[in-house]
């Protein structure tokens, strides 16, 4: 229950965080001129006619970086409690954390050796 009370204002902030940026957009929508035409609404690509579909296939490397990031992101969340309790840890817990960091490093070395971190 205490946790709920502590976090309740965050919910309020979520509402404010939507209203506050939306307000100037609404005000601007009331004030600004609206004179659309076909040329104005066309896609701007430095004045050149758009060729083909925009949502094209792209480099697979972007996905691979995303996957490598996911590995690290999840593992770092597991490391945070270890870091918080660090000063009171005994030798075993300290070693377990080290083992975990070693696995993390191992993943990085594996990705590196497999050329997952090469751009071209």
């Amino acid at each position: 229950m205490n946790v709920l009370i502590e976090w309740a204002p965050i919910g309020l902030f979520f509402i404010i965080a939507v209203i506050l940026p939306a307000a100037p957009i609404v005000v601007a929508a009331l004030l600004n001129p609206k004179m659309p035409n076909d040329v104005k609404l066309s896609t701007y690509e430095s004045g050149v006619e758009t060729v083909g579909d925009t949502w094209v296939q792209f480099k697979v490397q972007y996905y691979i970086y995303g996957i490598v990031f996911l590995v690290f992101d999840v593992e770092m969340i597991f490391l945070l409690p270890w870091a918080v309790a660090f000063n009171e840890l005994d030798f075993f817990a300290f070693g377990a954390g080290f083992l975990f960091i070693f696995l993390l490093t191992d993943a990085l070395i594996y990705a590196w050796r497999k050329d997952a971190l090469e751009w071209s």
Binding site: L12, F13, A22, L80
Partner: protein, 403 residues
């Protein structure tokens, strides 16, 4: 029910503050950039051009707002709101002054404040990605791809560097991290982590030498190319305030936040009528502003003086330099902390407690130990990269002779 209204008013004030701060920030940004480029900068509207950002805001609000015909309208319209909203959410848990018995200088006092701040900061990435994807423009889409690659990658060293102050303070609460720097800034204990955090924070905001997601010379404006009017303005407000927020976070994590001389956490009154809480609030804001301003200036300096990197260099710099270095830094720092604990001068509840009995004399040994550890890492890096650069230079010279 009265409690609800107080919380509502506090939340509204804290949420409005970053958006109001954007107005002077734009002026500072333009003036500093102008000075670096040997120009004068805005100087027509108001004294020294101080009213210029307000004039710009009035202009931008009356500009026509164009939604391209092929755009995904819902996502296109909601993207700038998410971009700015993430900053507002970050400010909810960032302390602006000491935690006092009957007053607080923070929107929501969370026990895991720093984790919350990092988590909601990622919403900004989502906003940028949505803007690039929904614009139906190839330049915007390229910008959005780069956002995914860059912002997501640089979050890894950011969080790994963040782990060092969390480890030293033994808490995820930003107020605790600040209070535990009473005797010694964490910048002195872990300068390497501070630098890594600084660089990653600069990349997270998408500026400085890392502004690939809006590289003008390559993809025109990147993810916000199709935006105009107020929505375009909101992206920039979001960016400016994000830089300030990162400067404040850096201040809190490594430079003692609002802590400084003449701040006492127990209740007292000066001359019998000035409440100590008031002095704490004023002084805390003063110290915090000065430290943040210096760091903000360094961020501007970095942005305006370094050339843009290529995207392969950007990704290599993150994955092959920053991430390994921050892992090594984490291992060395944690190992040295345990060594210090075994030696009886480490940080811990029964040794040097940073919250209770910390003073310069008993923090100094562990600080020196960590500092030496950091210097050893830096020395090793210089050794490795120095050799690599030398061999590359020799190869280049040999190739030049061959010609």
């Amino acid at each position: 029910m009265g409690n609800f209204w107080i919380v509502l008013i506090i939340s509204a004030i804290v949420a409005t503050l970053p958006l109001l701060l954007a107005i002077p920030l734009i002026w500072i940004e333009r003036k500093v950039a102008a000075r670096i480029q040997d120009r004068i900068g805005p100087n027509r509207v108001g004294p020294m051009g101080l009213i210029q950002p307000i004039a710009d805001a009035l202009k931008i609000i009356t500009k026509e707002d164009i939604t391209p015909a092929g755009a995904d309208k819902f996502i296109y319209n909601i993207a700038p709101i998410i971009s700015v909203g993430s900053i507002v959410l970050m400010w909810a848990a960032i302390p602006l002054g000491p935690r006092l018995p009957n007053a607080r200088m923070i929107g929501v006092d969370l026990e895991i404040g720093i984790l919350y701040v990092i988590a909601v900061a990622s919403f900004g990435t989502l906003g940028t990605l949505m803007a690039g994807w929904s614009s139906n423009n190839k330049y915007a889409l390229l910008g959005a791809f780069r956002v995914v690659a860059q912002l997501v990658s640089y979050e890894v060293p950011l969080v790994l560097a963040l782990m060092i102050p969390v480890m030293l303070a033994g808490s995820l609460d930003i107020q605790d991290i600040i209070v535990s720097q009473r005797a010694m800034w964490f910048f002195v204990m872990a300068p390497l982590a501070a630098f890594i955090f600084f660089i990653s924070a600069q990349a997270e905001t998408g500026r400085g030498p890392f502004d690939l997601l809006e590289a003008e010379s390559e993809i025109i404006a990147g993810y916000n190319i199709e935006y105009s009017g107020m929505k375009f303005g909101l992206f920039f407000v979001g960016e400016f305030v994000h830089v300030l927020t990162n400067a404040i976070l850096l201040t809190h994590l490594f430079f003692g936040g609002w802590w400084g001389p003449f701040i006492f956490l127990q209740e007292y009154t000066l001359f019998g009528f000035i409440p100590g809480a008031l002095i704490n609030i004023v002084l805390g804001l003063f110290y915090m502003t000065i430290k943040t301003a210096v760091l903000y200036f360094f961020m501007l300096l970095l942005r305006n003086s370094l050339p843009r990197v290529r995207i392969d260099q950007l990704m290599d710099f993150n994955w092959k330099f920053l991430v390994p270095v921050s892992i090594v830094n984490l291992v060395v720092t944690s190992f040295l902390l345990k060594v210090a604990q075994a030696g009886g001068f480490g940080i811990g509840p029964d040794q040097v407690n940073l919250y209770v009995n910390a003073n310069l004399a008993n923090v100094l040994p562990v600080t020196l130990l960590l500092l030496v550890g950091n210097l050893v890492i830096v020395g090793g890096l210089i050794g490795i990269y120095g050799r690599q650069i030398r061999s590359e230079r020799v190869a280049a010279e040999a190739a030049a002779v061959g010609d």
